[in-house]
């Protein structure tokens, strides 16, 4: 740290040599001060009836101040500032992680009760109390999301290719602007759009799985466009020029050179965009509705989906309330597992398809 080269200092006779060293706090000092702060925080919060959250807040605040003061007294201003900022960064990280851990714990804790074979093999036909499952909802979510991906990936990818490889001037700027606007569309608006569109086309009271897929596509396309655009921009221009210099036409260059080079990033982007929409509730609520039986045909009538399933289990429990709540938590857990699996897939894609650079 302190490696300022200066002549030997006469006011520090115990520190010889040209490299100035300073006294440092012992390694365990910061941890110790924080523990002491927590203890003090416990005492403080005990004054108004003990409260663990308050204890931690007091403890962290006192600990931070104590570390800063001690470091300033012993190690000097620069080191003290360093320690202060480290404390703040770690605290911010802690605050960010707490809800995540808490949420995972709660969902696991409550969802595991019904995470059994029946949940994955049964639908809700004829179930008014305990038992039943979400087979129909899991299949519905998979089908509708896959359909949404089938609609939005080609559109999004081709838009991104246009923006990066072909577009210029006002049209390109306009598309970029509207894609940005689309990114911010509230999901219920997307749902209402699909609802209005299909009502216009097929009359009142129409409920189809494909309506949900269209609604999800409205949300998904901008995500695919943005992520693909960023990835395509990363492809070095030198590769395009190398291809042109071999007498390869532009479209072939895009298909055979640019896309294969970017395939890892494109795959990751698409997978993450799927993960983004798989848990959407509002648009599916107004477009797809819910049924208790299994419907695997997205072009015929209502379908069940996991988020809507969880929503109805939670808001309209029958007489056996606990059974309904358990199913809602398990549906949430399955949904989280699904998103997590998609993220793992995205990681694998980016690892296996990345251009080989090793020797």
């Amino acid at each position: 740290m302190s490696q300022t080269v200066s002549p030997p200092r006469t006011d520090h006779p115990d520190l010889p040599g040209p490299v100035r060293t300073r006294r440092r706090l012992p390694r365990y000092a910061a941890t110790g001060l924080y523990l002491a702060g927590l203890l003090l925080g416990a005492v403080l919060s005990a004054l108004s009836g003990f409260n663990p959250a308050l204890t931690v807040i007091y403890g962290v605040a006192i600990g931070t101040v104590a570390v800063y003061a001690a470091s300033r007294a012993v190690e000097g201003t620069r080191k003290a500032t360093d320690r202060l900022v480290t404390c703040i960064v770690v605290t911010a990280f802690g605050i960010a992680v707490v809800p995540l851990v808490w949420l995972s714990y709660t969902v696991l804790d409550r969802g595991l009760t019904r995470l059994d074979g029946t949940f994955f093999s049964n639908s809700m036909v004829g179930v008014v109390g305990e038992g039943g499952g979400a087979y129909h909802a899991i299949m519905g979510t998979l089908i509708i999301t896959a359909l949404a991906a089938v609609i939005s990936v080609p559109i999004g990818l081709l838009t991104a290719i246009y923006l990066v490889e072909y577009g210029s001037g006002r049209l390109k700027r306009a598309i970029t602007f509207f894609v940005d606007v689309m990114t911010g569309i509230p999901s219920i608006v997307a749902g209402l759009f699909a609802f209005a569109l299909f009502t216009l086309l097929f009359g009142n009271d129409v409920r189809l799985g494909v309506m949900g897929a269209v609604a999800l596509s409205v949300l998904m396309i901008p995500v695919v466009v943005r992520s693909s655009e960023e990835v395509l921009k990363l492809v070095p221009n030198e590769l395009r020029e190398a291809s042109y210099a071999l007498g390869v036409p532009k479209w072939r260059t895009v298909v055979k050179v640019v896309l294969p080079t970017a395939i890892a990033g494109l795959g990751t982007g698409v997978t993450l965009s799927i993960a983004r929409v798989v848990g959407e509730t509002a648009p599916l609520l107004v477009t797809v509705g819910l049924i208790t039986s299994t419907n695997l045909n997205p072009f015929d009538g209502r379908m069940a989906t996991l988020p809507v399933f969880a929503y109805y289990q939670l808001t309209q429990p029958g007489t056996a309330t606990q059974a309904f709540l358990d199913r809602a938590w398990t549906a949430a857990l399955v949904l989280i597992i699904l998103v997590m699996a998609l993220n793992v897939v995205a990681r694998l894609i980016s690892r296996f398809f990345a251009p080989q650079t090793g020797r």
Binding site: A242, A245, V248, P249, Q356
Partner: protein
């Protein structure tokens, strides 16, 4: 193989900015022509305009004539893609396709253009091109490894192999050795002297010794000041340029009295 290129009254623009003005030059077949000059004087721009790579950039355009064996490369009915099939190019930084193996990189010109070829023909083409680029012995046991696994000098020779695999008439080289160490540079210079038996070679270089070592003809580009267009100041046999140039500016640049 190996064609003559005549350039007359060539002006090269980036949008409204005139980058290179009034180039008149004849490039001889089966020889190496070197282009030297300070940075930003338009050597690379001129080189890129020969195989119509210049117009890939938005707003870039060219006035004047470049004639290769009687055919105007900028004629109304000429497809730039066809021009580039006849005039290959090697870039400053080695740029093998990262998704392809060494083998596929060499065969890229054929593969990307979807030419149907028998496996044995492709094998033969790859070997011939790699031998032509003096790289065969180093990579023959690992043709399926990625092109980016080679060293910088090997990658550059791989790019040369890729360029000559499509059998062009002319080979343009844009500072092909500036990112390489002296030994790789020597390998590529030797290669150029071999290749000039079959191709017309135009090379842009910042290394005046290199120009003196390899080239028969040398062109000196210069510009009067920032924002002014670059011009071809002098074009003469290399020996004359380096011993007794016609122009004062050339002599100043070569002897290091520049700026």
């Amino acid at each position: 193989m190996a064609k003559r290129i005549d350039v007359s009254d060539l002006n090269i623009y980036y949008g409204n900015f005139l980058a290179v003005e009034g180039v008149n030059v004849s490039i001889e077949p089966r020889s190496i022509t070197a282009l030297i000059g300070p940075s930003g004087c338009g050597k690379s721009t001129f080189l890129r305009s020969i195989n119509r790579m210049h117009e890939v950039l938005p707003g870039a355009r060219v006035e004047g004539k470049i004639v290769m064996d009687g055919q105007d490369l900028y004629g109304a009915d000429v497809d730039p893609v066809n021009v580039r099939r006849q005039i290959g190019m090697v870039f400053q930084r080695p740029n093998p396709f990262p998704t392809m193996s060494i083998y596929d990189n060499v065969a890229a010109g054929m593969r990307l253009n979807a030419k149907k070829m028998k496996k044995t023909d492709t094998d033969e083409l790859v070997e011939r091109s790699l031998r032509g680029a003096n790289l065969w012995n180093e990579v023959k046991d690992r043709l399926d490894r990625p092109g980016s696994s080679l060293s910088g000098g090997q990658q550059q020779r791989l790019c040369i192999a890729r360029a000559i695999a499509v059998e062009p008439d002319v080979l343009l080289m844009d500072e092909p050795c500036s990112a390489l160490d002296p030994i790789s540079t020597l390998a590529i210079e030797d290669l150029m002297t071999e290749l000039k038996e079959r191709f017309t070679i135009v090379i842009v270089t910042h290394n005046m010794q290199q120009a003196a070592r390899v080239s028969e003809q040398t062109g000196f580009f210069n510009l009067n000041g920032v924002g002014q267009p670059g011009r071809l100041i002098e074009f003469n046999p290399t020996e004359k340029i380096f011993s007794n140039p016609d122009e004062k500016a050339t002599e100043d640049y070569i002897s290091g009295r520049f700026g």
